[in-house]
Symmetry: C2
Subunit: 424 residues, 2 copies
């Protein structure tokens, strides 16, 4: 699947042994999203035993069609440390944007091919409900050739689930966009999910291009009161079966997860996914630990994401402050990426010596007020630089004035400064 | 300590039974910070079995002396839902500010009386190292008479700890401002901690005014690499003894805690405090789960605070994005308070039916795009209102354009709308 030299280099970057990386890939506990038509300057491994990775969603909406803005978001997300980009365009000149993203992104690029098929059906047949698998298939092929590294495929939502949902209604219904499109399609056409029916064919294409499949959770809870319900777990079992199918065909696969989940159900959700889906990497969309914080859902999601990652989630999807409210702008993207990076790093430092060392070094600099050394090591340094205010360029900042605990303690000679020297 | 009618009213607001409130107060598992010289329009109980409470720090620094600005912060913090305010002034016209805060705050007001004593010593003797217990005592009396509801008293840092620290240096040293002032004082004067030595006298004053004692953690870790070290836990044991002394004298007491703590040590820290400090309410300053996110430490702290509260922490101190960088402005205060409220509510909804109902109602409105009903129920509605962008006042927002999962699902009749109707 991958060349030995490539894996050796990646293992080094991931701070694991080559053998470990090989074993995790072989067992399916980790994936490397990378279309074999191209290379990436920053490929990553996602899965158990690796640093927690994050993905940032960008893309055109039918109401926001500025290509340049989306490319600027890509750049900002990469600067702030995203490990992957999903182009979730649902309007505008999406094909041109996708090509530009793939050409410029140093990190893996994912898509939800269903969107393009739905847009085409709207254009040609005036309604996405008339979309055929043939057009889905054309989309899949086009995107594979373009060089997309991973596809979100909502193959787990079945007619039986729609029937169940009609008798057991939910507060949030279906909040997955792909899920809702498919549910409506299945509801109107009375046919089974076309991605489920044609899954083997899709796997052949994925195999040909080494595209990783990310099994979408069409039925993820979009409200705390829908969390961990039968629908969610029914779909999870279907995804577990599909994971097996992928493995049989040697296609890399990960599984997407919730959503809105209360704090005390996050660990269970992660353990359940790992069990039911045969240890496939878990890609969580949050989880958001409350529904009432619109405008601040990057924080809600950082709480849930940190906890999920601590218990084994491998890949966090960035949620921005714009979630539930509007198409995110570049500031939203930055705030969201940083929040997710905080969650990821908070877990990485528990597992990787070098990650923990970063905290020690920055704290050592901080204790000695070596601001110039602090900034470059800060997760996102522009804000820190802007915020830090010295007074008359002296060693006094506006926070504590004359009563700076750091300076007071320094006078007593009670500081360990080895962290700071080590970094030199 | 409190009138029955007052407790009955408070029990109702806290959604617990009167008997439960009485029992928790009697056993010391909960406190109600409230100076008996005055009343509060929004008093709260802090402790086991109650909703998680949050405190916001404001105050003048020697470099930021605008009283009006601090009073505006108080107002904003209260609007966003703070349950207490600490005036941590260390400069300017601090006495005037304190009186104004106490006169206008609907929520309990706390202070660190040591600061005033240190400022006075700087003024009169040119150095805080010459501060005497007499001046500390005068300060305590003055603040008690002013109507302060709770005092942070750093009585747990002892000479033995300073000696230990000089041989076992820390990356972050002592980051507690009160702790550093006392450490320096003890280091220079070679005397024992004056708050520890005179603790019984302080308790008499606290008893007289029903001031709650918040035992400060002078030795809290200010860096991940100092977390859960011997110094921190040595002090915790001293605090445990002091809790007993408070209880003997019928003085309400809570215990302050870290600080910078890695995710996987948070639960242990909470359990340990509850054990060593005889189930006294736990007031955490964070915990921050990484050191490298200056500018975004409200998020770092929301992660740690949520986890701490889930495992039993009762009172969260707001950390703003300005932490480690500058004196916070009003926007920092808002961002910080909202982040802490998210952490608190994420835990409250696990325990209180009415809190969980809030999530259901807002999600039900959201599924039906009833924006006018959503905003007032949002944790902080101004940002949500500003963010939400409709297109041509139609039922399309910039996020999903024509592919709105909520609208698609509505067409299928798959929504449970009971949450929305209940709220009418």
């Amino acid at each position: 699947m991958f060349k030995k030299s490539f894996l050796k280099k990646l293992a080094k970057e991931e701070e694991v042994s080559f053998t470990f990386l090989e074993n995790q890939l072989r067992s399916g506990k980790a994936v490397i999203p990378l279309n074999n038509q191209k290379e990436l300057s920053r490929p990553v491994a996602i899965g158990e035993g690796f640093k927690v990775k994050i993905n940032t969603n960008i893309g055109l909406s039918s109401e926001e069609e500025n290509l340049q803005k989306e490319l600027t978001k890509l750049k900002e997300a990469v600067r702030c440390g995203t490990d992957a980009i999903m182009d979730l365009s649902i309007g505008g000149n999406f094909r041109s944007l996708r090509k530009k993203i793939i050409n410029t992104s140093p990190v893996a690029v994912g898509t939800v091919p269903l969107y393009e098929a739905a847009i085409e059906a709207e254009k040609q047949k005036k309604t996405f409900e008339k979309m055929s698998f043939d057009s889905i298939w054309e989309t899949l092929k086009r995107q594979a050739e373009d060089g997309v590294d991973f596809f979100t495929i909502h193959a787990g939502i079945l007619q039986s689930a729609i029937k169940y949902l009609s008798q057991n209604k939910r507060t949030g219904g279906i909040v997955s966009r792909g899920g809702s499109i498919l549910a409506r399609w299945m509801f109107v056409n009375k046919e089974e999910n076309p991605f489920y029916v044609n899954f083997d064919k899709i796997l052949q294409l994925a195999k040909k291009y080494n595209i990783s499949i990310s099994l979408g959770d069409a039925l993820r809870p979009g409200a705390i009161s829908d969390a961990s319900d039968n629908l969610q777990f029914f779909e999870l079992h279907v995804l577990g079966e599909l994971v097996k199918k992928c493995r049989k065909k040697n296609v890399q696969v990960m599984v997407e997860g919730p959503g809105h989940i209360p704090l005390d159900e996050i660990e269970m959700n992660v353990r359940l996914e790992k069990k039911i889906c045969h240890q496939a990497p878990f890609y969580v969309l949050g989880p958001l630990t409350t529904d009432i914080a619109a405008g601040y859902d990057h924080i809600t999601s950082a709480i849930g994401g940190a906890l999920a990652a601590q218990h084994g989630a491998d890949f966090l999807c960035v949620v921005t402050p714009a979630e539930h409210l509007r198409h995110p702008d570049i500031n939203d993207i930055r705030e969201g990426v940083v929040a997710s990076k905080i969650a990821a790093h908070s877990v990485d430092l528990l597992r990787f010596k070098k990650e923990r060392e970063k905290d020690k070094v920055i704290s050592s600099h901080r204790a000695q007020r070596k601001w110039k050394d602090i900034f470059p090591l800060t997760l996102e340094q522009n804000k820190a630089k802007k915020y830090h205010k010295k007074i008359k360029s002296s060693d006094i900042c506006t926070m504590c004035g004359n009563f700076c605990s750091l300076k007071i303690i320094e006078k007593c000679g009670l500081l360990d400064t080895t962290g700071s020297t080590k970094s030199k």
